[in-house]
């Protein structure tokens, strides 16, 4: 039947595909294997006539690389976590979707939506959702801006004069009296008694300095505060009397003379508490009725926005987590990646499983109904066995995709493949291959690609073996 004329024609039809496949598919297979076994192979040097030792040096080098082992660990971890989670979730959603009539098409469309997205672009959205804006070295650290005023309407702002990580100094002037406040910030000011955690110093303009003292607020039994200072001369209390002709605030060693300080919460325009205003009654220097003297301790968080995910967590009573920012934990990074990869992997799995469910013969369910079989039994004895070919398919493709994970991490962490200050922390196998390649390290890249291929091959074979035993066709 096969005449030479047809032969010739067939090859004409195939010519473009054959040429391109030869150059970009067949040759790469041969050449990549060849490069993998030539130590430190570099094409440019090879063109220049250099020769390379044949052997497994590249493979040895790969396994000796810390970076490679990190990539291997990240890749395997992400694979092992995301494939079971996304498969189970997709199965639940598919079974649920299959059991409803109204809204089925609409919901199915929504569940498919993540598929038609750019994994880098949407990764950036996930990054925004988990990102914290501000200094994350201590997630609960707050900065304080100290306002002091002795008349409610005349606020005099204390300006920041020095700062380091835990220490803030403020200089301010109230009625020609300079205040120098030194704050050590450790705890959240949200709780009232924490105010006592700050130590401070005060200077009066007349150089009547109380230096090296620790000033703190102590809570009175009636809920008010008193300012207590421990100085070299012992414990002193803030006194609002008029002993000094210069200073509005004086320290006294007589506890009974200590001014009673009250704290009112300070609210912003949205009604959120942003700090406390402390006030006490002070007798004016010129004499007359006592007036209120205010100190406003307003906290400005070093964190501007904790990200919507943390907002939701705190809304439900949880604690904020540094997910992806500088000095975030590995577990938090992996968690974010798992969430994103599962979100991304669901649509394909749901689509395939829905297709499988819809092709199951309804008679099985009718029979089960007549027998009064329970729902769980129907799921485990009918649905899952009959769906097993599809399940095996999504699991195998899930593992293959998982081992090639790369762009979803670029989407969230950027090209640095890790949180700020820790590049490469979440680098994967594919990323390692491309980095080696970009670094002109063809031998290492080829060897790593072969290792990746071997892993995928072995895992696929194991999956196929398992499904041979478990899958009911």
């Amino acid at each position: 039947m096969v005449d030479s004329k047809h032969q010739w024609k067939a090859w004409i039809y195939l010519a473009p595909a054959v040429v391109l496949l030869a150059v970009f598919t067949v040759w790469p297979i041969i050449n990549t294997v060849r490069m993998a076994f030539l130590a430190d192979y570099k094409p440019l040097e090879a063109a220049g006539g250099a020769t390379f030792a044949f052997g497994i040096a590249n493979f040895k080098k790969a396994f000796a690389f810390n970076a490679f082992l990190t990539c291997l660990k990240n890749t395997i971890l992400l694979c092992v976590l995301t494939v079971p989670i996304s498969t189970a979730l997709a199965l639940l959603i598919a079974v649920a979707l299959n059991s409803i009539k109204p809204l089925q098409k609409f919901l199915q469309t929504i569940f498919f939506l993540p598929y038609v997205t750019n994994s880098i672009a949407i990764g950036m959205v996930f990054a925004a959702m988990f990102n914290i804006i501000g200094n994350t070295t201590n997630l609960y650290k707050t900065e304080y801006a100290i306002y002091a005023r002795n008349k409610e309407e005349q606020a005099s702002v204390f300006e920041l004069s020095e700062r380091d990580d835990t220490h803030y100094s403020f200089v301010g002037n109230v009625d020609d009296i300079y205040y120098y406040m030194d704050l050590t910030t450790q705890k959240d000011i949200d709780k009232c008694d924490v105010i006592a955690d700050y130590s401070g110093r005060r200077y009066s303009g007349s150089s009547k300095a109380i230096s090296d003292s620790n000033v703190f607020f102590s809570k009175n039994s009636n809920g008010s505060y008193k300012l207590v200072a421990t100085t070299s001369e012992g414990i002193k209390y803030l006194n609002s009397g008029k002993e000094s002709s210069l200073s509005a605030l004086q320290l006294t060693s007589d506890s009974s003379k200590a001014a009673e300080i009250f704290a009112d919460p300070v609210l912003n325009e949205d009604g959120e508490e942003i700090g406390y205003r402390l006030w006490f009654m002070q007798t004016p220097l010129k004499g007359g009725d006592a007036v209120k003297t205010y100190f406003t301790v307003e906290h400005i968080s070093s964190i501007a926005s904790i990200g919507i995910v943390n907002n939701l967590i705190e809304r439900f009573g949880g604690r904020r987590v540094n997910w992806i920012n500088a000095s975030s934990s590995y577990a938090a990074n992996i968690f974010v990646m798992v969430v994103y990869i599962v979100w991304n992997a669901l649509p394909f799995k749901i689509l395939i499983l829905m297709g499988g469910l819809q092709s199951i013969n309804k008679q099985y369910y009718d029979a089960a109904k007549i027998d009064g079989t329970s729902r769980r039994r129907i799921l485990t004895r009918i649905t899952i066995p009959l769906l097993s070919p599809m399940l095996a398919y999504v699991i195998i493709t899930g593992f293959i995709g998982g081992f090639k994970e790369y762009t979803s991490i670029v989407g969230i962490f950027g090209d640095s493949m890790g949180p700020t200050g820790d590049p490469g922390k979440l680098q994967t196998m594919v990323g390692f291959i491309y980095d080696s390649l970009a670094g002109n390290n063809y031998g290492l890249a080829s060897a790593s690609a072969l290792i990746l291929f071997a892993i995928i091959f072995v895992v696929t074979m194991i999956n196929l073996q398992v499904s041979k035993k478990r899958v009911h066709y």
Binding site: M1, V2, H6, Q7, K9, A10, W11, Y13, P16, A17, L20, L21, F24, V26, W27, P28, I29, N31, T32, P43, I93, L103, L107, I110, F111, L113, Y115, N118, I120, A121, I122, G123, M124, V125, A128, M129, N131, I133, G134, D270, E272, S305, I324, W343, F348, Y393, K404, I412, G414, D415, P419, V430, I433, Y434, L437, A438, Y442, L450, F453, T460
Partner: protein, 296 residues
């Protein structure tokens, strides 16, 4: 007596069906609740993208986030368009996408036809070999291809973005299966009428397998839109960058104090064409995807 028993039985039965119905309704409510909650989780990132892109930076940085902008502003969109030079990136991507799709379709149709209808020596062996190459991860090809295109001097050209991926064994396989379903009698009849192969291919085979061709087109275009790794390797200048690379490069920082409203606007602009395609060609995409399992 018997009658009384009967009515008792009926009563019991009625009670049983009533409780069954209640349980059924409860299960239905639970199923719907689960699906709706999951759907909201799926949709949330899209909502957050749009919500953020319409805010001012000050509003975005608020301690307590607003779930809808207090003041909707659109300025982030033109801002994003110019910051990321999206116009140029769109044109590049469109050009690469359209040219590679057309060429790829032609090559795929021709080879699928050869495999489905023509006879030649070594056809089965060759087909089996091609199918086997599908198992190999793309990274393995990329390494040598990178060296090849370097040798060809193709770095920073459109050619390098188009040519290496023109042939997809998978698409050939997909289309061949489709062609095989078309009865051979049609081909033989056309032969008798003296219709040329090319004319038969164009007039009969192509129209009959249009859904598959559309699926291939969409997947190929989505591929160009979403490709990141290869363009990043082979384009160093901005003139040939594709949209995903441009997006990531324009907003290198993904964490910290980033101008998120503008970044989210850029993401929305890049995502929008995909949604548009999805809305109009949902059927073809879902069909194509369920057969391929390839993302982009």
């Amino acid at each position: 007596m018997a009658e009384k028993n009967n009515t008792m039985h009926e009563k019991n039965l009625a009670m049983v069906t009533a409780t069954q119905r209640v349980v059924q309704i409860l299960v239905k409510i639970l199923v719907y609740a689960f699906l709706i909650v999951m759907a909201l989780i799926i949709l949330f990132p899209f909502y957050w993208m749009i919500n953020s892109s319409l805010k001012t930076l000050d509003e975005y940085r608020l301690n307590v986030p607003t779930f809808w902008p207090r003041k909707v502003i659109f300025a982030n969109y033109p801002g994003a368009f110019t910051t990321a030079n999206l116009g140029r990136l769109f044109l590049n991507t469109l050009y690469v996408g359209v040219v590679s799709t057309i060429l790829s379709l032609v090559i795929t149709v021709l080879s699928a036809f050869a495999f489905a209808r023509l006879e030649f020596k070594g056809k089965n062996a060759m087909f089996a070999f091609l199918m086997a190459t599908m198992m190999i991860p793309g990274e393995l090809f990329t390494i040598t291809n990178y060296s090849t295109v370097n040798t060809f001097g193709w770095i920073d050209t459109y050619v390098v973005l188009i040519v290496p991926f023109l042939v997809s064994v998978f698409y050939i396989y997909l289309l061949r299966q489709n062609f095989l379903q078309i009865p051979n009698e049609l081909y033989l009849a056309a032969k008798v009428d003296g219709t040329s192969d090319i004319k038969y291919l164009w007039k009969v085979m192509v129209p009959l397998s249009l859904p598959t061709l559309i699926s291939i087109t969409i997947l190929k275009m989505m591929g160009a839109w979403n490709s990141y790794i290869w363009p990043r390797l082979v384009t160093k200048d901005d003139a040939h960058k594709l949209v995903t690379n441009g997006l990531r490069n324009a907003f290198t920082a993904s964490t910290g104090d980033v101008n998120y409203p503008v970044q989210m606007a850029a993401v929305a602009i890049v995502s929008f064409p995909l949604f548009l395609v999805f809305i109009f060609l949902r059927k073809y995409i879902m069909k194509g995807v369920s057969r391929s399992g390839i993302k982009g």
